[in-house]
């Protein structure tokens, strides 16, 4: 059976392999380069954290992998995007529909806009199960109930009949996670799934993710701007900036010995509850470059070239900040520290 062959192949190599991904958008003002040559891999059962600020390209990367960006205006290209033996950019939309939601699932930030407000929780789950032929009509209620139970929703039988607006934000996010898990995906992409939640509810969802990771053993891509949530979930972390990977490292190395000045700056810019209170935060001057004005292309020079960072308010009386950011190189590459000194 082909599925078995693919499964074996996935276990042998990485589950997902992305090489030199580019995503651009054509807009009236010109061309926007949102993702500029991003490469990474995810192996089975692994959790990859992708961290970046707004406009860093982390969400666009995820949407491109799911093939959810309409082309045009988007332009998606890559040397390789291989998932479980499939060339995701080459297969036709029919084949992609069998993968999307089933083998490759996604959870978005805002549960209210991801759930259909006029459908009960049960119908939304049943739709997934039936579309991907996970079970027959007579079994959907039992399956849906079990899914809600798995994501820690109390009284799942009652909640099945609820509409999204009758649920709290935390419950809605659990329903979305249940929907994403309904077909037993090999890889779950979670894009800022706890950002809209209260901190105590966020903690519950993080706990749930850790439990699912342990019990189901699927691979996860956890996208966040929050270095805190990533620290407890990810095995490996990518730091993105201006559509590129700035640093990639195993989670402990990244937090203990960040190599890239941008990673260091990010870590020092956040106020913390653990340890002593720092006197002043190390703000990163300026702001990330506007992707519209960032005219980087495939011919982006590699090596030690400063990355642009816009000054705070054009014409500010302070001098423009020194460009301390370097072009991307993987963490752990030889001579990295020497390069920076």
């Amino acid at each position: 059976m082909p599925a078995d062959a693919e499964g074996t192949a996935a276990r042998a190599g990485p589950l997902l392999e992305v090489d030199d991904l580019h995503v651009g958008f054509n807009s009236r003002e010109g061309s926007v380069h949102a993702v500029n040559g991003v490469s990474f891999a995810v192996t089975g059962r692994e959790t990859l954290g992708i961290v970046g600020e707004s406009g860093s390209g982390k969400s666009v990367t995820a949407l491109a992998l799911m093939r959810l960006l309409p082309e045009p205006p988007a332009r998606v290209s890559a040397r390789v995007v291989r998932f479980g033996g499939l060339d995701l950019l080459a297969i036709d939309e029919r084949a992609m529909r069998r993968v999307r939601g089933a083998r490759l699932a996604m959870v978005f930030q805002d549960p209210m806009t991801s759930l259909d407000p006029v459908m009960t929780v049960e119908r939304q789950l049943a739709e997934m199960l039936l579309a991907h032929r996970i079970c027959g009509r007579d079994e959907t209620r039992e399956r849906a109930r079990a899914l809600l139970d798995m994501v820690g929703i109390p009284e799942p039988g009652t909640r099945l009949r609820a509409y999204p607006d009758e649920l709290s934000g935390g419950m809605r996010q659990r329903v979305l996670i249940a929907m994403a898990l309904s077909c037993g995906p090999e890889l779950l992409i979670a894009d800022e799934p706890t950002t809209a939640l209260d901190v105590t509810v966020q903690d519950q969802v993080l706990d749930l993710m850790r439990r699912l990771k342990r019990e189901i053993g699927m691979a996860i891509i956890w996208i966040s701007h929050d270095l805190g949530t990533v620290a407890g979930l990810a095995d490996r972390v990518l730091i993105m900036y201006a559509g590129r990977v700035m640093e990639e490292a195993p989670v402990r190395d990244l937090y203990r010995r960040p190599r890239h000045p941008y990673t260091r700056a990010l870590l020092r810019s956040i106020p913390r509850l653990d340890g002593g209170r720092s006197a002043a935060l190390h703000a990163i001057e300026g702001m990330p470059p506007d992707p519209e004005r960032l005219s980087v292309s495939r011919t982006l020079p590699t090596g030690r070239r400063p990355l642009p960072r816009a000054a705070p308010g054009a014409g500010n009386d302070r001098p423009p900040p020194p460009c301390r950011l370097l072009a991307p190189r993987r963490a752990g590459c030889t001579g990295w520290n020497r390069d920076l000194r």
């Binding site: 600020e53 707004s54 709290s168 934000g169 935390g170 419950m171 209260d198 901190v199 105590t200 509810v201 966020q202 903690d203 519950q204 993080l206 706990d207 850790r210 701007h225 929050d226 270095l227 805190g228 949530t229 990533v230 620290a231 407890g232 989670v251 402990r252 937090y255 700056a265 990010l266 870590l267 810019s269 956040i270 106020p271 913390r272 509850l273 653990d274 209170r277 720092s278 002043a280 935060l281 190390h282 703000a283 990163i284 001057e285 702001m287 990330p288 705070p312 308010g313 054009a314 014409g315 500010n316 009386d317 302070r318």
Partner: protein, 197 residues
């Protein structure tokens, strides 16, 4: 210098940008403009309601540093409202923790972080993810995950408003009597039956 130019300079913006519209600025710059507007009439007291919550961390640090600097230079009193305890701890001298419309604990910042008394404060402190994998693993190993979601403020629970989420509550009073804010040590107030005298 005209007053508007002076106040723009105060918040680190170029007065030459004064004729622009809000959409021509970035999120961080808009927050600087907001702060400039609040400071224009030279107030003594400024209320900041989640002023950094929607900003990226690198921009958030700029605004926090700006607020600190302005407070020092202008001798301002700030009431800083935020859901982010780490930001509050960084910026504020004293912290008041609220739950469902009631103050549950009020004390000096380092005291609150090191010696929280109210179970909700403890839960909040221990629910915040730590940006350090080893400490984060320690945190998740020993903290208690708070059950459920905050109840609706339309029909708050009887007695202590926190009692529906606190599993080790005292059966006696928690679900019947609402605890008042009492001083447990100098400058440290708590509204909880566990600390009622």
């Amino acid at each position: 210098m005209p007053r508007d130019a002076a106040v723009m300079r105060l918040v680190g913006l170029d007065p030459a940008l004064a004729s622009r519209y809000p959409h021509e600025f970035s999120g961080g710059q808009r927050q600087r403009i907001n702060i400039a507007r609040a400071l224009a009439p030279e107030p003594e007291f400024v209320v900041c309601d989640e002023p950094v919550s929607s900003l990226d961390v690198s921009i958030q640090a700029q605004i926090i540093n700006l607020l600190e600097e302005l407070q020092r230079r202008l001798g301002l009193t700030l009431l800083f409202i935020s859901h982010d305890l780490a930001v509050v701890r960084h910026l504020c001298n004293r912290i008041a923790v609220m739950y469902l419309g009631r103050l549950v604990e009020v004390t000096e910042r380092e005291r609150l972080v090191a010696h929280p008394r109210h179970p909700y404060t403890c839960a909040l402190l221990s629910a915040a993810p730590v940006p350090d994998p080893e400490r984060e693993a320690e945190r998740t190993a020993r903290r208690e995950v708070l059950e459920g979601d905050p109840p609706s403020p339309l029909s708050p629970p009887a007695g202590c408003r926190f009692c529906t989420r606190w599993m080790r509550r005292r059966g006696i009073d928690c679900a019947r009597v609402e605890p008042g804010l009492v001083q447990v040590e100098t400058g440290h107030h708590v509204a909880c039956h566990l600390h009622a005298g």
